[in-house]
């Protein structure tokens, strides 16, 4: 009967260790990181330039 109190914590530890190794993809963080990079590449920071609607105004004759 006493053995189960040793086995149970061990089993719980093993189970949660499995979860720890299998780290999932941080989707929310990835989205935030993507937005940050896109802002910098496209120069579309909303806070800095509110009126930057036309990055390349093309002359049409």
């Amino acid at each position: 009967m006493k053995k189960i109190w040793v086995a149970l914590p061990l089993a719980a530890f093993a189970l949660s260790a499995c979860v720890t190794i299998n780290i999932y993809f941080p989707a929310a963080a990835a989205e935030k990181a993507a937005d940050k990079i896109i802002d910098e590449v496209w120069q579309t920071q909303k806070t800095d330039q509110p009126a930057a609607n036309q990055p390349a105004a093309k002359e049409t004759k």
Partner: protein
């Protein structure tokens, strides 16, 4: 018996906390990522006009493509093709670099699809984006 129960709860809580901590953030501030970002930023000045004219569009797999060659004067076509190829090289490198910088090369596909959605969602009105295999103007 109570002690063992407490130990069990503490063990599970500790490993769960570790798990959350490990997955909380994505590092994108590395020299490799910054170099690619700067290269893409410089190229965007040349590409923006082609996005506006519809010659170049954003694809569903996080890249760009020459959508309407007719919108580009013949003399410029080769230059635009080179621009598109260089941009796609940078984008592929960017997705791989972010995955590697975070120690998870296997995340590359998910990073690419996250970027693909964000590029398309944030494209400016008038730009062409790929959606469900077809081109659509925003």
């Amino acid at each position: 018996m109570n002690v063992i129960l407490k130990l069990l709860v503490a063990t599970v809580a500790l490993t769960a906390a570790l798990n959350v901590f490990a997955a909380a953030d994505l590092e994108v501030n590395t020299p490799g990522v910054n170099a690619i970002k700067q290269s893409m930023q410089a190229r965007h000045a040349q590409l923006a006009g082609h996005y506006n004219s519809g010659a170049v569009g954003l694809t569903a797999d996080g890249l760009i493509a020459l959508r309407d060659a007719g919108a580009v004067p013949l003399a410029q076509r080769q230059a635009v093709n080179a621009l598109v190829a260089a941009e796609n090289n940078d984008r592929n490198a960017l997705y791989a670099e972010i995955a590697n910088a975070n120690g998870h090369p296997e995340w590359q596909a998910e990073i690419r699809s996250t970027f693909a959605q964000r590029w398309i969602q944030r494209a400016q009105p008038g730009w062409w984006v790929q959606s469900g295999g077809a081109w659509k103007q925003k």
